[in-house]
Point group: C2
Chain length 346, copies 2
C-alpha cells in the first residue's frame, strides 16, 4: 500500500463520517470504527499531515477534526461514486409523477421542486425554462372583453406563455384579427427585440384604432421577452435547513431562509454555473455569495431540443450528502428533460 493512499483512505473515512454525524472526528473513534490496521497514534500522525495539507481543520485544540472545503472538493472530484443510481422503485415512482396529464409547465415545475426538496431534504431551487427570445413561432391575440385581450405567444421550441392586457381603448373582435395578422407579419421579418423601434410609422392596412391597440401590445410583448431573459427562479423547502445542527442558531437559519427567498440571490447562483458542465457543484466558500459561504449548491441543467433551457438544484449545508444528492439532482434533471422533450416533440 502506498503511504499516500492510506492517507486519503483516512481522509475519505473522515469525510463520510462527518457527513453523517456533523461531529468532529478524532483519531481514536476512527480507529474503533474502521479497520485501517494501524493504531490511533498513526492515524493521529496522518491526520496531522492532512491538516498541514489543508484538508482538515480543528474547531479548537482539543476537538477532533472536520473536513475543509478543499477536502470536500477532493471528495467530490475524486473519491465519490459519481454514477451512483437511485434504486429502481424510487426512479419509477418519480417518473410516474411526470405523466402525460402534466402538460402545464407550472405543474411540472411545482412537482419538480416538491420532489427535489423532499427526496434530498435540502432546499430545492429551479428556474423556469428560458426560451429563445429572438423569434417567436406564433402570436395569438384573443378577444376577451371590449377592453381586455389575452396575448398568447408560442416560442420556436413550442413553449407557451400568455398574459392579459387591459386596453385603454375599446376594441372589436374584427379589429383584433387585423392586429393579430399585422403582428404576425411583423415578427416574420424582424426579431422581437427590434419590434418596438420600427413601429413609429403607421402600419399599412390598419385603422387608427387598430394601430393604437398594436402600440399597446408591443410593450407587453417586449416585457414578456425581457422578463424571460432574467430567469424566473423559484425555491421550495426553505425550512428544511432547520433540520441541520449547523443552523440550529435561529439567526443563521433566518439569514439562510431570507437569502433563499430572494430572487436576485437565486438568480446569481444560477448565473454562476459553468455552462460547459451539466452538473455543477459549488462548495462552501467557493460560493461568491456571502449568505451561502457555509453551504453547498448542486445544480443541473435541463434541456429542450438538446438545448439547456433551465436549471434545477438544491442548497444545503456544506456537510452535504454529495453522493446521494448528486444522484438525485441528476436523475430529476434527466426526468424533467425527458418530460418536456416529450411534451413539445412534434
Amino acid at each position: 500500500m502506498k503511504p499516500e493512499e492510506r492517507k486519503f483512505r483516512i481522509l475519505n473515512a473522515i469525510i463520510t463520517d462527518y457527513i453523517k454525524t456533523a461531529e468532529p472526528i478524532g483519531s481514536r473513534s476512527l480507529e474503533k470504527k474502521h479497520d485501517f490496521g494501524i493504531s490511533s497514534a498513526t492515524i493521529k500522525n496522518e491526520m496531522s499531515d492532512l491538516e498541514d495539507m489543508g484538508f482538515l481543520v480543528q474547531p479548537h485544540t482539543s476537538a477532533g477534526r472536520i473536513p475543509s472545503n478543499k477536502a470536500y472538493r477532493l471528495y467530490v472530484d475524486k473519491f465519490m461514486a459519481k454514477n451512483k443510481k437511485l434504486d429502481k422503485t424510487t426512479r419509477e415512482a418519480v417518473k410516474s409523477v411526470y405523466d402525460e396529464y402534466m402538460i402545464e409547465l407550472n405543474n411540472a415545475m411545482e412537482s419538480t421542486l416538491n420532489i427535489l426538496s423532499k427526496m434530498t431534504n435540502y432546499t430545492a431551487l429551479m428556474t423556469a425554462p428560458r426560451f429563445s427570445t429572438l423569434y417567436l413561432k406564433d402570436i395569438k391575440v384573443v378577444y376577451i372583453d371590449e377592453d381586455r385581450i389575452m396575448l398568447i405567444i408560442v416560442t420556436k421550441e413550442g413553449l407557451i406563455k400568455n398574459v392579459q392586457v387591459k386596453l385603454s381603448t375599446l376594441v372589436k373582435m374584427e379589429e383584433l384579427e387585423h392586429v393579430n395578422n399585422a403582428l404576425l407579419e411583423l415578427i416574420r421579418d424582424i426579431p422581437l427585440s427590434e419590434l418596438a423601434i420600427r413601429l413609429n410609422d403607421t402600419i399599412e392596412g390598419l385603422s387608427e384604432n387598430e394601430h393604437e391597440i398594436l402600440m399597446q401590445i408591443i410593450p407587453v410583448l417586449k416585457d414578456l421577452v425581457e422578463n424571460s431573459n432574467s430567469q424566473n427562479v423559484y425555491s421550495k423547502g426553505e425550512s428544511r435547513i432547520l433540520d441541520y445542527p449547523e443552523f440550529k442558531e435561529i439567526d443563521r437559519a433566518k439569514d439562510f431562509i431570507d437569502a433563499v427567498n430572494r430572487k436576485d440571490i437565486l438568480q446569481a447562483i444560477v448565473k454562476n454555473d459553468d455552462d460547459r458542465k451539466d452538473l455543477n457543484i459549488t462548495i462552501g466558500n467557493e460560493n461568491v455569495l456571502e449568505a451561502f459561504r457555509e453551504c453547498s449548491i448542486i445544480t443541473a441543467s435541463y434541456k429542450l431540443k438538446g438545448k439547456r433551457v433551465g436549471t434545477i438544484g438544491v442548497i444545503g449545508p456544506t456537510r452535504m450528502d454529495y453522493e446521494r444528492t448528486v444522484a438525485t439532482v441528476d436523475m430529476l434533471s434527466q426526468t424533467l428533460t425527458e418530460h418536456i422533450e416529450k411534451l413539445f416533440r412534434k
Copy 2:
C-alpha cells in the same frame, strides 16, 4: 373611578406591555412604568383578582403574569381601538402598488402577500378569488398546435382563467371553432356542473372528431371548476415567525412553518371564518387546528361586485399587535377590493 374600571385599566396595560416585550409583567414594573396612582401592593391585589377571573396566568409562582386567551379576547372585543387608521403616507404607498398596470390577478395576489407579510412582520396568507362556478360568461378555445389548445374561461364577474390542453387526436382550426360554438351553446342552457352528464349523446352539427375533442375538453373544464371550489390558498413570510421569542425553539418554529406550508391546513383556517363578519380574529386555543393553538389569526375578506370572493390574513404569535395588525389587514383587504372592482368594472 369605579373599582372595576381600574382593574381593567391595569389589565389593558398588562396586555399592551406584554405584546411589546413578551416578558411576564410584575406589579412593581407596572407601577414604575404607568401612573395608576396606586402602589404596587394594590396593583398586586388587583392582579390577583384578575388571575382569579381567568384573565391572567402565571408561568410559575415567582414570575410575573401574562394575559390569557380570554384576556386577549376581551382586549380585542372591548379595549382595543378598532378603527385605527394607518398613517396617510403608508396608505398611499400601498395604494400606489395597485396601479392600473397590475391587471393579472396573480400579480395582485403576489403583491398583496408581500405587502401584508412585510407590513405586519407576520406570515401572510391569501386565497385566490373564488368565482361563481355555475355559469360562465364566455369560453374560448384557442388553437395552438395541431394537438394543443388553450382553454380560456371568463366568469360572470369577469375573472379569467386559462389552461392548456393536449389532445390525443389532431385538430384543425376550423374544427376548433365548431367545438367552441358548440360549447358556448351548451353552457348557455345548463350549469357547467351538469355539462359532463349531458354529453353522452352526439351533439348535432359536430363531426366525430369534433365530438371527440369536445369530450376531451369537458373534463378539463370540470376540473377547472372543481379546483376553484376548493379555494387555492397561498402563504408568504413563513420565516418571520423566527423573529418571535415564542418560537425560538427550532422544533416549534419548524412545526409552525410546516403547518403554514400545508394547503389543507390553510384552507381549514379560511373555512373556519365566520361568514357574517368582514374581519375575523381567532385567538390562541380558539383555533381548532392543533398547530396554531399558540397563534392568533386575523383574516378579512375581499370582494368583487359586492360579493365576498376571497380572504387575506396573517398568522402570528398569540401575543400579536392586534391593533396595528387589524388596521393593516383591514386596509389591505379594502385596497385589494377596490383594485379588483376597478379591474372588472364594466
